[in-house]
Amino acid sequence: MNLADSVNSASFRDPSGFIFRRNDRLYRQINTSYREDYQSLIDSGLYEKLVGTNSLIPHEEVGIVPADDSVAYKIIEPAVIPFISYPYEWTFTQLKDAALLTLEVQLTALHHNISLKDASAYNVQFLRGKPIFIDTLSFERRKTDEPWVAYRQFCQHFLCPLALMCYTDIRLNQIMKIFVDGVPIDFASRMLPFRTQFHWSLLAHIHLHAKAQQRYADSGDRPKVRRKAKISALGLRGIVVNLKNTINKLHWTPKGTEWANYYDQTNYSSLATDHKSEVVSKYLDDLRPDTVWDLGANVGNYSRLACSKGVEVISFDSDPAATEINYLKVKSDEERNLLPLIVDLCNPSGGIGWSAKERISLLDRAPVDTVLALALVHHLAISNNVPLSMIAEFFARICRSLIVEFVPKEDSQVQKLLLTRDDIFDLYHQGGFESAFKEHFEIQESCLLRNSARLLYKMTKSN
């Protein structure tokens, strides 16, 4: 192994190859053990077909020295995904779209007598507003009557969490943080309401599936049973079509959460809102970022302001309904430079999986050029008791420049937060805010929003 190359921390389970980084470029080594399957993918025309429909990440074969010469067949350079996101950060429809993409890829592959050998949700990423399959080494030639080896993984990574979000509680998308290889099927079976036993597909793919797993968990006749299990090509297509229909029928309407109707309930006058947009727009023009993270983005109104300037934007919000509304707009308007994600800033995604590095933390995916933190700091400082100094320090870790709004205590929204608790926030005032942020940032400009007591700041990180 070439010591100068850094092997991707998530790329170790599949012996077919691995991802590595060299001189700031990303490559994938294909090992000799995967030679035949890779050539089938290319020679059958499947690769071209999937890339043509933007379903599979395109790549180029390159002639560089392999990272591990002893097992190398080829090195490919895949197109780069600018921001890696994970299923526990996706909304209901994002996970549903990723599931449908995986099934469509599988159906197309089956037409070429090729099958997916894994169906992990982590094989899907979002690029230009749409899901895309990123694992070029997931395809293998299908042997006659062979079952779909990735069926269980598909159920664990997609069907179980989607059913739980749909029938039990939308916040259960977070459960993917606990179960790194997807939600165990027996767990999903227990958590789903009894009425799902009368839903034929959920009964079969989840409830009976869980019982079958239990039946054969320690059975001594497992090898014999497995040898007998055969699935025809038609049967396999049937199961994939059935999964597709099942997932298509799962729906969740984004409503009823704290933030879904936020913009109908704000205390801003339209004058203040217009002025705020105007000032944010000017600050963005001054800072000229390539990438923006909009923290507490709600449905993404200010994210879109940044998008209109050609900036790549990630919208973060902890509310699944607001983020879902945001994503649905990305879909309907075919927006290409906005990715909405569910992230609770008081508990941002940490590193999970093997060595806590398989799925990297949000902080390890930073820094970004500019953070937008509008109408956010009072929630962190007052609702969550985070001192202003710690908020400033956090922002300094993730960005190079900052557009931040300070909402003083006299504002009715802050008054609402203080209504049912003691005001223990002596340092929460304009002076306290500025001195906390000056520890890490230089305040370039500030502006009092018209018709309100709120202040907007443009800051750059101190050297």
């Binding site: 469509e104 069926y151 079509v241």
Partner: protein, 90 residues
């Protein structure tokens, strides 16, 4: 000549593995025995559903023809059901 030593060597030889082990194709992920069983059961039902659906259109098409209510789009519908090509790739 088969000596005791040769017999012992032969008995330990990996060639016996070739005779007794079946060639199950194991993937790098364990598909799970229970998952394979339920999968083959669902596949039988779902596969049959596709066949029935396909023939159902043909039967209804035949009846329609008999009743002189031929639907011009019928062939397209039958074709669509048989291939069930995913919409994104059609």
């Amino acid at each position: 000549m088969i000596t005791r030593e040769n017999a012992r060597r032969l008995s330990l030889s990996p060639i016996w593995i070739l005779l007794f082990v079946s060639y199950d194709c194991y993937a790098y992920l364990d598909p799970g025995t229970g998952s394979i069983i339920i999968q083959s059961t669902i596949a039988a039902v779902a596969g049959a559903a596709i066949v029935i659906k396909t023939y159902w259109y043909r039967i209804s098409g035949f009846i329609s023809k008999l009743l002189n209510c031929h639907n011009d789009n019928l062939e397209t519908e039958v074709e669509k059901t048989i291939t069930d090509e995913p919409s994104r790739f059609s």
